[in-house]
Subunit: 350 residues, 2 copies
DNA sequence: CGTCACTGTGATATCGTTCTCAGAACTGCT
DNA sequence: AGCAGTTCTGAGAACGATATCACAGTGACG
């Protein structure tokens, strides 16, 4: 009754030790590259490890107190290319540094986000990267911080929590985009978007306002709650007495929603209304009217955040220190939806 | 010297037991919903768990032999919306079933894929979902299978390995797309794509061939290796003596590459060349010429695969049984790049 | 030659959980 | 009463790795 059908092939450190005729500690020291092992012993052990195809059991290592060498990443969604690019970069950098990534898409569901955070605690996650979706999980994050868990927020922040932050220059980006429209002679510009509760979005709104006010123009806003169809409201605004002649869309999904509606209503861009979006995407240049957009360096965001997190794991294994802040620049990618000539006409084709 | 600066707040099962004045086994039984615990005891323990904010340590559970309740997902890339949608669905279904997802994008790098698989072994992953990128890791997968690890392949398979499979009807999809072009009167159709070594792609090629042969037409192919720019080759073909009048693109990235090139060269779609792509994407309808494409149910693929995997975890905890196979249907989304009228003209707007 | 510092090695305890087994208390049945 | 079969409970041994401590050996230095 002792032998199972298949021995499950679990080679343990003890097996390796036995094969070498040494103690487990010697093997452990070799695995972890610690001092106080003679060269020939290292070789002997390494041979045995290779021969037996031994791999350390991470669960045991984690249990014994070592960091789990796994970082958690929470994003609102993977369908949005901004987040998926970001996630990809995170995963890549983490892997380079010997960390695994545990990925969650919370789909902006508050309870899910909370559940995911609690799962992470359960699993001795080494650190957390999060594009936070709601203030509801702030308390939980605080609690994790207090226990020394490093946390880095990406793209958005909430006040009053000492976490690392990696953001983009939202104010500048929005300011530049708005100015570009103003330079085209637009005076009535509508700022459209969701989720004004996120500071990234509200920063963009600030940038828009500033540009308008600097030009002595009256900013107009159309901000709706998530789940509300924004298209009809845009159409309504366009049919009002003094309609906007340009639209500034505050993010990816807003741009797409607006473009879809404009197309359905056969409203011509940029003749009837110009549009600039915040957050560029791959296919923007292949659209019916190539979209002028503020490019956010999504992958860079992920890379920086991951490095920041892993750095703080390295140094701050004690109390988990050093919340810091990185702000990355954006770039205005001029295509045609703003009213500019096709790029191929004014510069070299590409 | 005993007290650390912060006690790290690790509430263990023993703390809960002590708080209730019972043994740890009783608490364990309550946590796992096992029999032989009195109702009032269950309540007492549950209260203490809530009060102390206790959460079981997954590392310890995993070590003790329980499944790690984590599944691994390997996809070639997250930038491709097909995979990111799929990944999202996986993550969602897994979460519903109480499993976490460990996500990897191997970026079609053979060594990375191998490394990831070995990491998974190390971490007592309960099961593996993979969109395989190369035959190189087949052996490793076999090895894992032999040790009772459930494996489900998504979208592609390789012969000679007994894993679960979730695929789409590639042959039918390609056949239908090709026929649609033939119905438009096209006789010289070029089938373009990468990665012919994947069976999903080769099945699409088969479907294309079959449709052409059924119609008594000569199939033409343009198949290049990954990393090769396909655009120039397409242009060359279009400038040949008897140029194709339609293109069938074998996947997402091919469609986009071809569209980009056609746009740059100012070749009109569908007048100069019609195009249908395999694998639809969100923005296809907003493109300069809305792309007719074969829609693959990416999310469904992920969902089914995850369910299959988790089912096999549930039943086959012994030897890891039941490789099975699911094939999902595709759908031809007719837009305008094939030469059809705009949808809004021939049916209700949407 | 004794003390010290350092290298190389292994026995043992420990991490937090669950499994095994054993016992206590209670039933029901001869 | 005696015995078997429940239900409820807990002590102790795992799981596989690492930290700690102990000990032997080797020079170095006074």
């Amino acid at each position: 009754m002792r032998m199972s059908i298949r021995s499950r092939s679990v080679v343990t450190i003890a097996d390796v030790a036995r094969a070498c005729g040494v103690g487990t500690m010697t093997v452990s020291r070799v695995i972890n590259g610690k001092k106080h092992v003679s060269p020939e012993m290292i070789q002997r052990v390494e041979e045995a490890i290779a021969r037996l195809n031994y791999q350390p059991n991470e669960a045991a290592r984690t249990l014994k107190g070592r960091t789990s060498r796994t970082i958690g990443l929470i994003v609102p969604s993977l369908s949005d290319p901004f987040f998926s690019q970001c996630a990809h970069a995170v995963q890549q950098v983490a892997a380079e540094q010997g960390y695994m990534t545990m990925l969650f898409a919370c789909e902006a569901n508050r309870n899910v986000e909370a559940e995911e955070l609690s799962q992470m605690r359960s699993r001795n996650i080494a650190g957390i990267l999060i594009v936070p979706s709601s203030e509801n999980s702030l308390e939980q994050l605080q609690e994790l911080r207090r226990n020394g868990m490093p946390v880095v927020m990406i793209d958005r922040t909430f006040a009053g929590i000492d976490v690392g932050e990696v953001m983009v220059e939202n104010v500048e980006g929005a300011w530049r985009a708005t100015n570009h429209l103003i330079d085209h002679g637009h005076q009535r510009i509508l700022c459209v978007g969701y989720d004004r509760e996120y500071n990234s979005i509200s920063q963009r709104i600030d940038g828009f306002k500033k540009a308008m006010q600097d030009a002595g123009l009256q900013p107009q806003h159309l901000l709706v709650n998530r789940g509300v169809a924004i298209g009809p409201k845009v159409i309504a605004a366009l049919r009002s007495p003094k309609p906007p002649t340009a639209i500034f869309a505050l993010n990816n999904v807003t741009s797409v929603a607006v473009l879809t509606t404009l197309k359905r209503e056969e409203i011509r861009i940029p003749q009837q209304v110009a549009i600039i979006g915040f957050d560029d995407f791959d296919l923007a240049s292949l659209l019916a009217v190539p979209l002028t957009a503020v490019r956010q360096p999504a992958a860079e965001l992920g890379r920086h955040a991951t490095r920041m997190l892993i750095d703080s794991l390295r140094v701050g294994n004690g109390t988990g220190r050093m919340p810091s802040r990185i702000v990355l620049p954006t770039e205005l990618i001029v295509r045609q939806s703003c009213g500019c000539e096709p790029i191929s006409r004014i510069s070299h084709p590409r």
